[in-house]
Symmetry: C2
Subunit: 311 residues, 2 copies
Amino acid sequence: MAATGTEAKDLENHHNDCFIQLSNPNIATMKEDVLYHFNLSTSTHDFPAMFGDVKFVCVGGSPSRMSAFIRYVAAELGLDHPGKEYPNICVGTDRYAMYKVGPVLSVSHGMGIPSIGIMLHELIKLLYHARCSNVTIIRIGTSGGIGLEPGSVVITQQAVDECFKPEFEQIVLGKRVVRSTSLDARLVQELLQCSSDLNEFPTVVGNTMCTLDFYEGQGRLDGALCSYTEKDKQVYLQAAHAAGVRNIEMESSLFATMCSACGLRAAVVCVTLLDRLRGDQINTPHDVLVEYQQRPQRLVSHFIKKSLGRI
Amino acid sequence: MAATGTEAKDLENHHNDCFIQLSNPNIATMKEDVLYHFNLSTSTHDFPAMFGDVKFVCVGGSPSRMSAFIRYVAAELGLDHPGKEYPNICVGTDRYAMYKVGPVLSVSHGMGIPSIGIMLHELIKLLYHARCSNVTIIRIGTSGGIGLEPGSVVITQQAVDECFKPEFEQIVLGKRVVRSTSLDARLVQELLQCSSDLNEFPTVVGNTMCTLDFYEGQGRLDGALCSYTEKDKQVYLQAAHAAGVRNIEMESSLFATMCSACGLRAAVVCVTLLDRLRGDQINTPHDVLVEYQQRPQRLVSHFIKKSLGRI
């Protein structure tokens, strides 16, 4: 039987939609999927009803920052009203926090690649079970800058490792696996345009170095362990700068790898809290740091409004 | 002038005391040290007054578990009373939570090596600035078991990497550095004896494999990405078992490396939530998991009581 006009259009739309592609054939055959670190399960929660309309996922390290973000974006999208609450969806666990308003999901990921990795495995399966389509995911975080005025925002062109290569190395069943860390180039330009629209703070596009350690791994001189000199540190950071690195954080490479492997359009937008060429300690006044941390939120919120045609 | 009897005894005691040894000469010359992720600073907090009496530090992933632990150990040590509160010392940040009662400090570290690493750098500096001596530090955590009944407790003999080697590899200024992951052998035996004293749950001494990923890194078949078979997984986990590995978690190797480098007597005590030879998902009822997670707390609390001569 030939498809009716409406069915044909549905099929066509469906065909153009970009769904989550798990790189694991096992999941489709599981009767139940327990997302342990979210305290959510397909047998106790209706994922399509809870999350089916999600189009934008914003992730960041701190639970309170991601809670503040959902309030902010709700107000910006006109979805807020007096007395409205945004309960933590991951109730019963303190591993991660998750908030939702309209098409926006806001999730914390803790600090470092292993922590964001657990979250992303479970988040990507959540979006898959919920049959979400055309999802954009953006990490909004903090970082150390290289040669930038503190408070500058960096939109990541490439996430690179400690040797400045756009690669992520992982051990799977005891063997080294190297994966690429590509990000969506068009999304980078769209976000840069949003920053121009706003014209509120300096924003650059640059490479982001992702490390496994905050102190020795980033050449800091103020950790409990340090076996190199200020000069060694400067040589290393200058080499990073020469390789196009403009900021350093601890999650971008795995974030890029996993999102790209599962068909998610992804970007990383981080504010720099200090210039690492000038120091290691973060001793800027608290209220200034709070304002800095709102900058990626303002940029990404503007991007979401624009994407939804609200501007 | 010759020392008086008391002075000589003080000097002798002082000489026998084991202080924190930072592996970084820079710290002693710093005017101020901001422990950013604790929201504490030497210029705004009196570390010797706040922490100088600390003899036992217990660390674990979850902030709420570490809050529950301080209440439990306070009651066990007879330091609790109705209405007593245990405020979070790291107020103003949600990166970590820290609680104290008497000589016991309880600190959360999040999930994974980078997250526990940031915490340990700042914790070790905190203990150094506070001029603490003779400190024992124990990680009380959760893990996946290999060939053990769920709920069994593993006291770590050696923390090993994904290739079962007792090593921790780190990138410092872009170069690979390999460090040993030795733990205090006598402390292992003391803790094992405490479990015998209690006689409440099965406890073994074994190697602990520390990975950077919870899903592919531990051979799970239920992540968003998986490119191997059940058989491949079983071969890998059986090889781990043959190498003496009894449980898998995500922090022990760096914990062992850093504590040993800074003169801290350290141990890792983790309960196993499931047997990985039989499955990947954690779908045990919530109340059973809660009881499992109390087991390392009970064991370590008993150890502290015994060390203080309260038993």
